[in-house]
């Protein structure tokens, strides 16, 4: 992850579908406040939605953390989704388009990576997974 000044962050619990809606709203508000374009908002929120749904589907929920960043005067937004699920066995495979272990389309992780400026994944088998995405203006 790049060096950046950190701003205020907020946490959201992801326990049900309604929480995904709440997360989208929170990311939206944050990005509007920072002056992101509509298309950037749409891409970032869609990416966050994919990750949040993954946490619900594979890990019975998780926590989302949203933070505004600043780097060289440019605003950025960070969304980090953590769960205490089974972890990802093969990260490279999981990042392949179309690969799914949950009956989905297999586009969530790879899509989130394509839709954002920065993407990082931390996982440990049996302990959980944290995916962090950043969008710079």
């Amino acid at each position: 992850m790049s060096q950046a000044q950190e701003g205020d962050g907020c946490s959201l619990l992801l326990a049900c579908d309604e929480d995904v809606v709440r997360l989208r709203k929170a990311v939206r508000e944050n990005m509007i406040h920072c002056g992101f374009s509509l298309i950037d908002q749409t891409k970032m929120i869609t990416a966050a939605s994919e990750l949040a749904r993954n946490a619900l589907r594979y890990a019975d929920g998780g926590t989302a953390f949203i933070e505004t960043l600043k780097k060289e005067g440019k605003p950025g937004i960070l969304v980090s989704i953590s769960d205490k699920g089974p972890g990802i066995d093969d990260v490279e495979l999981a990042l392949t388009d179309g690969f799914t272990t949950g009956g989905g389309l297999g586009l969530g992780l790879s899509g989130a990576k394509r839709l954002t400026s920065e993407f990082s994944l931390d996982t440990k088998r049996g302990e959980g997974t944290t995916v962090t995405i950043v969008k710079w203006k």
Partner: protein, 118 residues
């Protein structure tokens, strides 16, 4: 739990998705739609997503599956009203919406379905 209303227009069914979809709602819609296609002998289904500012792979999957179910029941599906930012994002996401025809709006979508039914 709310259910998404399905309207009948001639031989077509019209569904307007205006709320965020979750599992139960998506399943209820597919259930209701398949029953109505049979009951009303519908030849086409028009799904309007002009109110959706976010379409992720879950919703995309639901739309593709619905189109496939409709096809098995001899009905075509047209997706209308996709917001430009959504279209751009779906391409980047890699979502291809196989088996789903698209049209710009309800009028064009209906015209497409009526042509197809001839």
């Amino acid at each position: 739990m709310e259910r998404i209303p399905i309207l009948k227009m001639g031989q077509q069914l019209l569904v307007s998705i205006q709320v965020d979809m979750h599992d139960k709602l998506a399943m209820a819609l597919q259930d209701d739609l398949t029953k109505r296609i049979v009951k009303d002998r519908a030849r086409g289904v028009l799904i309007d997503i002009s109110s959706l500012d976010i379409v992720d792979s879950f919703v995309g999957r639901m739309i593709s599956d619905t189109a496939l179910m409709a096809k098995i029941l001899d009905a075509e599906t047209v997706l209308v009203g996709m917001q430009p930012a959504v279209a751009i994002t779906l391409v980047e996401l890699g979502l291809t919406l196989d088996g789903v025809k698209t049209a710009l709006n309800v009028e064009r979508g209906m015209a497409m379905l009526e042509r197809g039914a001839e």
